[in-house]
Symmetry: C2
Subunit: 370 residues, 2 copies
């Protein structure tokens, strides 16, 4: 029975822990929040990130450490890495955690990305806005997810306001990309450098939050280009584990939107929809086990359950629907669960998504066939 230490006890840690049990792996998590979603499936230590005693307990007897979120104090990450081998390596997180550093890193690799400005003061901010031209997105360099910590700026007055509200910890400015669609490439890399990719993922946002993700029906067109991007990032970081690269597709060009050094919401369909899930493959990779097959198992999609849960009786009456409750109290704009829909093929998947839409569940336009 191996123990894996995880920084963070949210739903990603919960699903890592659930994937671990059949493999004979127990997860132990550290999270400052009371009653985190990993409760009940992992050993939970409730303490501050920087509590040295808590890091000792987290590391005790663990064979490897990992993380389920990137917004962590680097001192906690280094503190844990000093106690037990950490995968991905802390240096990878250090390159990606700060948006400005991540943009510089991607530029050094020569990867296409939206035009950006990385201002360090108000004057550079004004010049950045002027150089890029409105509209732009202003994002804090640290923290922020699900559209928090970012503003879409279309007027000079909004630019002023965004600086006032967000600039305390630094910001990046990104030119708004008129993309055709948003994609994600999910990869897993082993300690020996073996790398595997799941089929390219189509992602659909509603109000700045991921609403639906599925293997892209025409993903083969951009699969090789997306794999090349993810491979270059993973290799440059000497990455071990699952990594997700979010992309904008503009015609046949792929621009890097964001890199997440962890298992990712856009890959939750892999639990039922792929031979080996992102959660199991992350554990396999960090433990030095052979990587599992990333092949599809029929058609599938996931829908995030945001704010409140629908009626299980209605939803579970639809064949091929899998319920994932994260055990989190309902709250507006909070991801509290997801549904996976599996089907024999795209047609049957469309039909099942249609049944969910009939129940009042948000299915983004464009996610189903016309």
């Amino acid at each position: 029975m191996s123990t894996v230490a995880i920084l963070g006890g949210g739903q990603l840690a919960r699903m890592l822990a659930l994937a671990g049990h059949p493999l004979g792996i127990r997860c132990r998590v550290l999270d400052p929040a009371q009653d985190c979603p990993a409760q009940g499936v992992a050993e939970v230590i409730t303490a501050d990130w920087l509590d040295a005693g808590a890091l000792d307990r987290l590391a005790e007897g663990a064979v490897v450490a990992t993380l389920e979120r990137e917004h962590l104090p680097m001192r906690a990450v280094h503190g844990l890495a000093a106690r037990v081998p950490m995968r991905p390596p802390p240096a990878a997180l250090e390159q990606l955690q700060n948006r400005a550093d991540q943009r510089r890193f991607l530029a050094q690799l020569g990867l296409a990305q939206p035009a950006v400005a990385l201002p360090t003061n108000a004057e550079e901010y004004q010049r950045g806005i002027a150089d890029l031209g409105l509209p732009v997105i202003v994002k804090t360099t640290l923290g922020g997810f699900d559209a928090r910590g970012q503003r879409r700026v279309t007027t000079p007055a909004q630019a002023e306001l965004a600086w006032t509200e967000l600039s305390a910890g630094g910001v990046v400015i990104e030119r708004l990309v008129p993309f055709d669609e948003e994609l994600a490439v999910l990869a897993v890399r082993s300690g020996s450098g073996q790398i595997a990719f799941w089929p390219l993922i189509s992602t659909h946002q509603v109000d700045g939050m991921l609403a639906l993700a599925m293997p892209h029906p025409q993903g083969y067109r951009w699969q090789a280009a997306a794999e090349d991007i993810a491979r270059r990032i993973a290799e440059a970081l000497e990455y071990v584990g699952v990594i997700c690269v979010e992309l904008f597709r503009v015609g046949d060009q792929l621009l890097v939107n964001e890199v997440a050094p962890r298992v990712h919401n856009s890959g939750h369909w892999t639990i039922e929809g792929a031979a080996c899930s992102q959660f199991e493959n992350h554990l396999r990779a960090i433990l030095g086990l052979p990587l599992g097959s990333t092949a599809l198992r029929g058609a599938s999609a996931i829908i995030n359950l945001i704010g409140t849960l629908p009626s299980p009786s209605a939803v579970l009456a639809i064949p091929g629907v899998h319920w994932h409750d994260y055990g989190k109290p309902p709250r507006p704009r909070r991801k509290i669960g997801h549904l996976t829909i599996t089907a024999a093929d795209a047609l049957q998947l469309d039909e099942r998504l249609g049944c969910l839409r009939d129940l009042g569940i948000t299915i983004p336009d464009g996610a189903t066939s016309p």
Copy 2:
């Protein structure tokens, strides 16, 4: 968050608990054994079956109770059922727990079964042996599984020995059936009487223990007959939950070997190989949720890991192999885990089973295509 109370904390409870978490269901188990397999995935109460305080704690706040084994003191079952609704109903267990009662019940239903004798003393035992003719199987009426508590008897001396060793709690004598193969039909029935069947299962024993189970490639031939048997049993028992009927096939005739009022080893492939697993469907049924689809997802098989675990590095390098560690200390003739092998079709499944055989894992003859 609903709580389900389970009598028994073995691997079946472990897999019920793992299926429960995504549904927002927590399992609480009672088991007299220290460190039972449900540890780490369910709330575990370690106490005697008849400990009233333990039954109170087991039932507290639970919405429904169930069981993961049939060899339980009926006083414990009734004690729990007095505290919280129990599914399947205790009366179903009462009909099936004792082999002699089960044989009488099956005879009353008019179901075909091996010729049996139900002796109540030494004289009736001798007459039973004489009437049936050797060879026979002598089984204890209570307890016993995986060939424990039973003897194959081919000589009068063995008949004498079997009586001495097994008769204390009563025995049944069954004529040895020259079957073509062993099958299992797995069903789930809801409280409203809805019933669903997984495709007929082919089971392969080695040394009296289940070694391999898989959806039967030609199962459609006997599917309707098997469903009819399982339906009649489930309806007569007013059964709610998953039930498994083990069958002997002799030509086109199906004889009932044994009925298990619970999730069953022969259905473990349903975790990866069916749209909804036996574990999830048992929870759905006992909680009054809609039943999940029992449709196949490609080809699959499970292999029991008995005594010791193989090398995970070698096994997990084979695509489509899923590891299930029960967290039990290795011991000869003890089921300590299983492997599920998934594949696109029967040919690929054969190939993958061949890879496992090459690693020294027991694949029974006849389980793969010639």
